[in-house]
Amino acid sequence: MSDVRLLTDRFDPAEELAAFTAAHPQAGGIVSFLGQVREGGGVEALELRHYAPLTLPAMRELAEGVRGRWVLDGLLVVHRSGVMVPGEPIVFVAAAARHRRDAFAAADFAMDHLKSESWFWKREKAGGEWRWIEPRAQDFEDLSRWA
């Protein structure tokens, strides 16, 4: 079973890693990715909107796809929605596996697909003004690595 959550409130990635590690003592390796709102880039706040009927089901489907592709002991996907400030975590993905390579590939793949295919719309506040963020070409390039 994978643990897939869409949260509206701030979460603590270190606590998530501790709980996930404790839940998978049989795994030799755990790879995690933490994405956070960067400080210092002039962004005052970031908002992620989602469409509830699609977003969480698609995240669960992605997790199932990852589980089918690599041999994992566990997979965790935690994603925020709503307004976040610099330093605040946006997404935390962790993959536990017997073999290191599987854990790295699974976390990497999950992030590439979350970034490019998840039902999230992002806007950023800078200089007091909100503006919607367009899809990045880099996200599609990242995705094409897995084709």
């Binding site: 909107r49 009927p53 699609l54 994603h79």
Partner: protein, 86 residues
Amino acid sequence: MAARLVFLGRLEELAGSGDAALALAAPLNWQALVERLSAEFDPLLGEAICGDRVRVAINGALVAEKQALVLGDGDELAFLPPVSGG
């Protein structure tokens, strides 16, 4: 009779809000819907939702061909521009 419309991403700006109720006298096909939205919201909104990269979901399910949909009483129709990543 009414349907609920949901506008995601920058479509929200064109629509003026994230969701809206649309009064219906009878079921609307895609072309009639685009005309209504152009008239009641903004002609740019009607144009934007016709773009290839804007998907639609009816009652939470993605629609394969939006031109073929018919909007009826109680339906929720969501307009989904390209996602911009988590």
